[in-house]
């Protein structure tokens, strides 16, 4: 499942929604990203964002036996301490859930069309992409 928009999320509620009434899920891994230090504005590419996240999710399901998954990304202005992103991977066993959640984040970080603009000392500037994110992608190739 994919969700993109300004609304905040509750990790517990999202996990319950994915696992309710099921007895084939033994392991749920969530990753949530939180704004550090300074306020930021998230720009994205409506239309492509949803398609790209759906492609990333489909690829994770192709690679691991997942019972359920969620990619949720917020947009707009966010403050330090605010949630930015939530990824959930649910599987029968923990190894698949851990690997899939990590894969989803690595792919999201390098392929999903979002751009952060940070406000530092009264000036807004676009965040540079991190080489370590490209490196993290390579382990899945």
């Amino acid at each position: 499942m994919i969700r993109v928009g300004p609304q905040d999320f509750d990790i517990g509620a999202e996990v319950r929604a994915l696992t309710a009434g099921r007895t084939d899920i033994g392991a749920v891994v969530t990753f949530s990203g939180i704004v550090r230090d300074v306020p930021l504005e998230l720009e994205h590419y409506p239309g492509m964002t949803e398609k790209e996240l759906a492609r990333i999710e489909a690829e994770a399901h192709r690679r691991w036996p997942l019972q359920a998954s969620l990619i949720l990304h917020r947009t707009g202005r966010l403050l330090p301490g605010d949630n930015i992103v939530l990824v959930i991977a649910a599987s029968a066993h923990r190894q698949a859930a851990f690997e899939a959640a990590s894969f989803l984040m690595d792919y999201l970080k390098t392929r999903a069309p979002f751009w952060k603009k940070e406000e530092r000392n009264g000036e807004a500037h676009w965040v540079d992409a991190r080489e370590s994110d490209d490196e993290a992608m390579k382990k899945w190739e």
């Binding site: 720009e43 590419y45 492509m48 990304h73 979002f114 751009w115 991190r130």
Partner: protein, 83 residues
């Protein structure tokens, strides 16, 4: 064909979105960028360093060699920084 610009590419180009008709000779993304740069200083500025430019053709990641024939939407943007 619709052209879209995001983040600092948009700010440098001074435009978020435009409808254009490409010259018939242009066949790939590199051609589109070359043509844009010939249209004005703002594009020359936005596309000055191609190592920092990413693109999508019809909402799928592409590169300089991606064909544009029949495409309805091309987007230009910096490396992504979400998550």
């Amino acid at each position: 064909m619709k052209l879209l610009y995001f983040a600092w590419v948009k700010e440098k180009a001074g435009i978020a979105e435009e409808d254009v008709t490409l010259p018939a000779a242009i066949s790939d993304v590199a051609g589109v960028i070359g043509w844009l740069k010939s249209r004005g200083e703002n594009y020359a500025l936005a596309f000055a360093d191609l190592a920092l430019i990413r693109c999508a053709v019809d909402q799928e990641h592409g590169d300089l060699a991606t064909p544009v024939a029949g495409a309805s939407e091309i987007a230009f943007f910096p490396p992504v920084t979400g998550g």
